[in-house]
């Protein structure tokens, strides 16, 4: 009996740690159900070949890549060192291994196509069952959900065709990324539920999952969704650790360091940007920076960094040189911490220190190497940030193209292999962000009040300060290289989108509107997706649009909604008469992105009709859009 209690208690603690509460679990499951529905089991971006081949190599016990299981070995992002080709983002590779083994085990006992359908149906069923419990409508959701799931399962199985040449490694990577991405909505919910109640939290989750291109990038093995999820988790950890008398305060703070260390294992440059923003907030606001606390945190951080050090040592022999610091096989516009030329073989190779004739003790050499390896990237980061500011001042037109209105951009067209106009700006891909622009006056007013009171604005947490800093830093790092080809929705800046959603939800007029009109937001969003989506379909067919035109039609619709939403938020700090209208604008803005992401996943990027669910493939075949 005692064991039973322990299991129950363990389960409760696990749910609290990962999801917060049952609503958090529902959001997680619902997000995952959506991502799998839009999942295509094929490569979207060339860079993913590098990571899939890397996973293939690691699964076969080899850290360097020798077999091009997918595409080519010399794909973008691959690194050369000592005559061998290495992958990158080894963190996701190792963390995807459990998914790979699970898939292989599944394939041994089941037809993988049927298993994917079955898995999705069970996910959907679990979502519905738990929703029924949360809403206290168990019976209706159990029976209705059961019938729906059986029908969907039967329908999909009837339409099923075999998975041709199962790309196990890609599927494992995609499953890992979708799982991490599914936490984004849950984390947004938790960040807002703790301050504004669960309803507002749920609306925030809906906006993060439906109103940003999260669902599009979730099944693409790129770092963007992971960075976003980690940033949200760190913000939550910070907020928890600053609560007075919180029983897990120190653990929450330590968890932030662990997450950042793991992100460094996945993508060191972005982790450095995040770490810098985090330290700038964590150190000054910490309840204690005593030797014992800092020592414990440092030890936790170093232990969490061990996987990164081990990977680096296996590749280059130097634990402090991350793969991205090595020479790239093909130059791309991705950030690197070793200068844009990418010629250096990595900073901080300590061996050169001893050549001066003076014998320097070994431990000092290690210390110097550590210092060098820390200073060099920091210097480069500072250069990137200043470069971002310079680019904003010198070339505001470029920033306008990347952030506000895309259209046909010549510099993008020159390098794009496909339709150049199929790259939207940040605002066009997530019109909810218009609220940011409109809320500048509200933010300024709140900021002024808080300076007078020497305290954070109402409802603004330590975590939010970190999020704001990180948003600014990440934008500055990337803005100089934008606009760019193969971005679709400015994917480099994707992580800031969900973070900005959380920040927008903190500001007074939005909080006021959501507290009274949350229902209006959800209803107008649902109506706009279901009815507006059909109008968009009719427009696409009636106007006989080409691919680029289809994207730009979505862009113009999004900008229209964004203008309304932005306009409302400007007025909203003066009057509360238009709140209901604002709620409608917010709902429709979310819907604009949902509809775009739906069309993008089903029609614009079918990737050889490789939809994981046969019903989505059938839908893609049915709609006569080219």
């Amino acid at each position: 009996m005692i064991d039973d209690e322990r299991i129950v208690r363990g389960r409760e603690l696990g749910v609290r740690l990962l999801f917060g509460d049952r609503v958090g679990v529902v959001i997680f499951l619902a997000s995952l159900t959506l991502f799998v529905a839009l999942w295509r089991t094929a490569f979207l971006i060339n860079d993913s070949y590098t990571i899939a081949n890397g996973l293939y190599a690691v699964a076969n016990g080899d850290i360097s890549m020798t077999v091009a299981e997918y595409g080519a070995l010399h794909s973008p992002g691959a690194n050369l060192y000592g005559g061998e080709v290495f992958s990158r983002n080894y963190g996701v590779i190792v963390l995807s291994l459990p998914f790979l083994y699970a898939l292989r085990a599944l394939a041994a006992v089941a037809d993988l196509r049927i298993a994917l359908i079955g898995g999705w149906c069970l996910l959907l069923f679990a979502t519905l069952l738990l929703t029924g419990r949360v809403l206290d409508r168990r019976r209706a959701f159990t029976v209705g959900g059961g019938v729906l799931v059986v029908v969907l399962f039967g329908g999909n199985v009837a339409l099923a065709t075999p998975l041709s040449q199962v790309p196990f490694d890609l599927l494992a990577l995609q499953l890992f990324h979708m799982t991490v991405a599914a936490f984004a909505g849950t984390l947004a919910y938790r960040l807002l539920a703790t301050t504004d109640g669960r309803r507002v939290g749920v609306v925030a989750a809906v906006v993060v999952v439906g109103g940003t291109p999260l669902a599009f990038w979730a099944s693409v093995p790129k770092r963007h969704v992971i960075t976003a999820a980690v940033a949200l988790a760190v913000a939550l950890g910070l907020t928890y650790s600053r609560r007075e008398n919180h029983e897990w305060a120190f653990e929450a703070r330590a968890l932030c360091y662990v997450l950042i260390a793991l992100l460094a294992w996945i993508h060191a440059p972005e982790a450095l940007v995040l770490f810098t923003a985090f330290l700038a907030v964590d150190v000054p606001t910490a309840p204690s920076n005593g030797l014992k606390t800092v020592g414990a945190l440092g030890a936790v951080f170093l232990v969490a960094l061990l996987p990164l050090f081990v990977t680096n040592a296996l590749i280059s022999g130097d634990p402090l040189t991350v793969p991205r610091m090595l020479r790239s096989v093909s130059p791309d516009a991705d950030i690197s911490l070793t200068g844009s030329g990418g010629g250096g073989s990595g900073g901080g190779s300590g061996s050169s220190g001893g050549s001066g004739g003076v014998r320097i003790p070994g431990f000092l050499l290690v210390g110097i190497a550590l210092l060098q390896s820390a200073v060099e990237p920091l210097q480069r980061l500072l250069d990137l940030l200043l470069g971002g500011v310079e680019a904003l001042i010198a070339k505001p037109g470029e920033a306008y193209r990347a952030l506000l209105r895309s259209g046909y951009v010549e510099s993008v067209a020159r390098r794009s292999e496909d339709t150049a106009a199929a790259n939207l700006s940040l605002l066009e891909s997530a019109p909810v962000l218009a609220a940011v622009v409109g809320l500048v006056p509200a933010g300024l007013a709140a900021g002024r009040r808080s300076v007078q009171r020497r305290a954070l604005p109402d409802g603004f947490t330590t975590g939010d300060v970190f999020l704001s800093l990180f948003v600014v830093a990440l934008s500055l790092v990337y803005i100089a290289s934008l606009p760019l080809h193969a971005q679709v929705t400015v994917r480099y800046l994707f992580p800031i989108t969900p973070l900005l959603v959380v920040l927008v939800f903190r500001l007074a007029p939005v909080r006021r509107t959501l507290a009274t009109h949350w229902r209006t937001v959800l209803w107008s969003c649902a109506a706009a997706v279901l009815i507006g989506g059909q109008f968009v379909l009719v427009a696409l067919l009636a106007l006989d649009v080409g691919r680029g035109e289809a994207f730009q039609l979505h862009a113009l619709l999004a900008l229209g909604v964004a203008t309304l939403l932005g306009g409302w938020t400007l007025v909203a700090s003066l009057t509360d008469r238009l709140d209901r209208l604002g709620a409608v604008c917010l709902g429709v803005a979310v819907a604009a992105t949902t509809v775009f992401v739906g069309f993008a996943a089903v029609e614009y990027f079918p990737l050889g009709q490789s939809h994981a669910l046969p019903m989505m493939r059938a839908l893609a075949d049915l709609l006569p859009i080219q």
Binding site: A107, A108, V109, A110, D111, R113, I114, A115, G118, C121, L122, F125, L129, R138, R139, T142, V143, G145, G146, V149, V150, F153, V157, A160, T161, P162, L163, R405, S406, G407, Y408, A413, T419, A420, A421, L543, D544, V545, G546, R547, G548, E549, F551, Q552, L553, A555, L556, Q626
Partner: protein, 162 residues
């Protein structure tokens, strides 16, 4: 409560059992079917008539898309005597631009009668569109038994529409 529990386990059971039964371990049924690739490219087909379009368009992008979209109207062929799995190719070439685009169809006996063929839209950089019109050629080609023959052909004018 018990009925609820039974529903839950019933649904889960249906999904799990179906998945396992169709798997390689049990292998009782094969639920994933695919139209066979056997004998592709062998056989015969007669194209009775083909009214190919004589005008296509290259339209300037709307909504700020910039690039030009090439469109050729769909058309219908009249097929008969389909035997085996011959391959039918519908092809547009614009020699002046060094451009070809084609659609490929794997025929089977059920395709006899009216058969619709189409060319997917394509986009062009605005810098590369210099003339008012381009001369192209549409062809319907049947490939079977290691040989290919042109069964219908027509000149097409691709007009540039600003």
């Amino acid at each position: 409560m018990d009925a609820e529990r039974a529903t839950v386990w019933g649904v889960v059971g249906i999904v799990v059992v179906t998945t396992l039964v169709s798997g390689p371990l049990v292998g009782a049924v094969d639920l994933t079917t695919e139209s066979g690739h056997e004998g592709l490219g062998t056989g015969t087909v007669t194209v009775d008539s083909a009214s190919l379009p004589d005008r296509g368009t290259l339209t300037a992008g709307r909504f700020g898309a910039g690039e030009y979209t090439l469109r050729v109207p769909d058309t219908t062929l009249e097929l008969s005597a389909v035997e085996g799995r011959p391959i039918l190719v519908y092809r547009l070439s614009i020699p002046e631009r060094g451009y070809t685009r084609s659609s490929t169809y794997f025929l089977s006996a059920s395709d006899a009668g009216p058969f619709s063929v189409s060319l997917a839209d394509d986009s062009f950089d605005p810098d590369t569109v210099e003339s008012d019109a381009y001369d192209g050629r549409l062809q319907v080609v049947v490939r079977a038994n290691d040989s290919s023959r042109v069964v219908a052909e027509r000149s097409i004018t691709v007009e540039v529409v600003e």
